[in-house]
């Protein structure tokens, strides 16, 4: 999970407006069902959890499984209460964690 995730939010929103937050992160999402060239199963390594919090409160959370495509794309809705930072966290099976903050501007 070396590369920076791509996150897209509207450049500004009105308070109370529902916006869409689009996220994309690079990850193999190895299923654990696939055999490598040595005939052995390749151990599972997927992003198992994605969370979005705003002001310390959980807005959205996703528990992912092997059925999610490589380089997971997740787009969810968020009702903007006020200007602030939306904090997005991805965690994979190896315990690697990527945390990104995205500022939500209110016009």
């Amino acid at each position: 999970m070396a590369s920076k995730p791509r996150i897209k939010v509207p450049s500004s929103a009105k308070a109370g407006e529902v916006i869409e937050v689009k996220t994309l992160i690079t990850h193999v999402m190895e299923t654990g069902f696939r055999k490598g060239s040595d005939g052995k199963l390749v151990p599972r390594n997927i992003i198992n959890t994605f969370t979005a919090t705003f002001g310390g409160k959980e807005v959205f959370k996703a528990d992912l499984s092997s059925g999610v495509s490589a380089n997971p794309y997740i787009a969810f809705k968020f009702k903007v209460p006020a200007a602030g930072d939306l904090e997005l966290t991805w965690v994979d099976d190896k315990g690697e964690k990527v945390v990104e903050k995205v500022a939500i501007a209110v016009s």
Partner: protein
Amino acid sequence: MTQRLKLEVVDRRDFVVGAGAAAMLAILLGRSTAAFAQEKPPTFDEVFKKIVGDKKPEEGKVSIELPEIAENGNTVPYTVSVDSPMSDADYVKAIHVLAPGNPGPTIASFHFSPMSGEAKVSSRMRLAKTQDIVAVAELSNGSMLAGKRTVKVTIGGCGG
């Protein structure tokens, strides 16, 4: 760690024996993890039952947007949504997306809050073959909704 500390004080012969034992242990551990990886994933019925319990979900209330024909099963875009006011008193707690025809039937579980504003999420899934996708929604009042949609898969995407 304790083993390594001990090895520093024993003579060479003991070291060889100890190393052999460590190697055996590594092989045994390797075996047990391999066995674990081959453990069968839960079946669709088990997963479905775990989510709904003894409740009967109301059919046709979760909308699933999917292509009719997915040419590449490795990445099939989808959107699931439920009509809900998403207020503190009445909101969708979670939507579970299931693919009964996959080696592992669970795709993802999405958890919402009243701060979500709308119970709608888009993502991409892997599909092994043509099948009916099932989505189950849990509401804050404890009731369950479900939806179903068929998708044709031209090339399965589980890399078998």
